[in-house]
Symmetry: C2
Subunit: 332 residues, 2 copies
């Protein structure tokens, strides 16, 4: 098993990335890593060189680069070389904490779509609040600005394979994000997608779900178009962020009494934060391309890199991509 | 000033509704109230009958009634009679805590659209977190399942009038909810709406805004299509609800220490809850029809009814609807 790593992507690259790889090696020493980037900088953090190969390049893609242009013009960028390695069969998966748009473009244009999958989607596993175990696979969270009903059907199938193979959910419940739970609700897109999802024999479709019920566990896979998915994900993030800030300032406003209270509540708050931290659930997957293409937040630290590499490991071991290729092979 | 009240709408009707009206009368004894519903039930809660007229009817629209059918068939339902009173000029505004879809239908089909406004939107004022003063007017939060770019332009104008006249924001910043802040981002709808909003001289357009920044105060008016607006609003509600639950259970899990801490933190948590309680910001307005049509949550209590009546009072006093009629009168 070989994983191509864009060692130069992310706010704390290459340090956080390489340190994360070193953590992952302890759990799975058999994984071979190809690290793309500046050799002298990467080397500083390689504490165990077994099964680690550094491929030196000076070029890299920056956060502000225009994605498609960057992929085409920066032909020796660390991310581009890592994607090329996957395309050429030298690696089985690619990991990056760099420019999201560029990684999506690299996935689509270098690695390529699975046959008959029209629009790969960006998928993340969001935790159910109040349970460390469960979560839902949310797809498309923003790879596409527009989607057709057929894409949403494919997301239902993709998400079900992921939930079964990677997250070991025996019979994943697939929900369609909609503006009401009743049948017949929705816009043109969701009304048409509902019919397709309801008729699909390979998934367990549970109907429409509303955004307010996602975190409480109404479905294991939630499909939506990329525009709405992006808005919902950012709403959840923004609300959680503002509430944590508000809680902090409420404690400060309350003065000594509050500070004492806060001290007492520290453990409780810490466990709350841990539950909300979905970096422990791995990175976002560009799902529907021929190999695992995984992205984590630019601000990612070594621990989250490690989690994400475990996720890639499970994806490869479970042969989820091969099963998807087979599933879609025979589609019209 | 006369307000028609559907006294039978909502989970705690007519008690909560009539009690709320009595609270509002204390602040504005000059308002005349027309209360529609079962006279004997309503009478029980009327502690001050000055300027209060009860119009008896036995019929009412229920939560599970199909909205358009209910409006057409239940011709003497309290909500329908109240809307008729506004249409006939016997009242200046309508208030209901009943079936949302039915109230939208009553607003559109009985009271009617302002000339040249194609698709009235449902608007609510959401609080900025961390400040009791400010908030943003969010439109359309779900009156329509589909919208055209022209509708979003009209929402920008509608929201600006509301922010200026009712909330006294001198120069409201209008943002377009989009999947990125850069110009040129978005789907077909938002790309086209961006151009229209940027060219509109009567508003102060500040460009694209992202869902994660709404609560921190990135704009005073946020326009979006009804499908996305519905998803964003429910995401914010769901996340806030789950986090409050999580905080509670974290405190309980922490045992005595946590319970003691919770006691200490009680004031802080209470102020946090107050900030999040957007019923204090009034109800949702079906905006773009010929009179104020205002809806609050079905679970609304007397205090929230009172706040909402203050909101209607300010809308009427500020002549926001008359100004809108004039603004749109001359449009193509």
């Amino acid at each position: 098993m070989k994983i191509a790593v864009d060692a130069m992507g992310g706010d704390h690259a290459p340090q956080a990335i390489v340190e994360g790889v070193m953590l992952a090696k302890k759990e799975h020493p058999e994984i071979e890593f190809l690290l793309y980037g500046k050799e002298d900088e990467i080397k500083k953090y390689v504490t165990d060189a077994t099964n680690v190969k550094i491929i030196h390049t000076d070029e890299k893609i920056n956060g502000e680069d225009e994605p498609v242009k960057a992929i085409r013009r920066k032909k020796t960028a660390s991310m581009v070389l890592a994607a090329q390695a996957v395309k050429n069969g030298e690696a089985d998966a690619i990991f990056s904490a760099g420019n999201t748009g560029a990684l999506l473009a690299a996935g689509l244009f270098i690695i390529g779509r699975i046959k008959n999958i029209e629009r790969p989607g960006l998928m993340t596993t969001m935790p159910f609040v109040g349970s460390n175990e469960g979560g839902f696979d949310f797809i498309d969270m923003g790879a596409n600005a527009e989607n057709k009903p057929e894409h949403l059907l494919q997301y239902g199938v993709l998400g079900s394979y992921y939930a079964r193979n990677v997250r070991k959910v025996a019979k994943p419940r697939v929900g369609l994000l909609n503006n009401g739970t009743e049948d017949g609700k929705g816009n043109e897109l969701t009304k048409a997608a509902y019919k397709l999802l309801a008729e699909e024999p390979s998934i367990h479709f549970v109907g429409n779900v509303e955004a307010r019920d996602l975190l409480s566990g109404v479905a294991d896979v939630v499909v939506t178009d990329g525009f709405t998915g992006n808005a919902v994900l950012k709403s959840i993030e923004g609300t959680a962020m503002e509430l944590m800030k508000l809680l902090k300032s409420s404690i400060l406003d309350a003065g000594i009494k509050g500070k004492f209270g806060a001290l007492m509540l520290k453990d409780a708050l810490k466990s709350m934060k841990t539950e909300l931290d979905y970096s422990t659930h791995g990175g976002a997957v560009l799902f529907g391309v021929k190999a695992p293409v995984i992205k984590t937040h630019g601000s990612t630290g070594p621990e989250a890199v490690n989690y994400t590499i475990q996720q890639i490991y499970t994806m490869l071991e479970s042969h989820v991509i091969e099963e998807l290729v087979e599933h879609f092979e025979t589609q019209a």
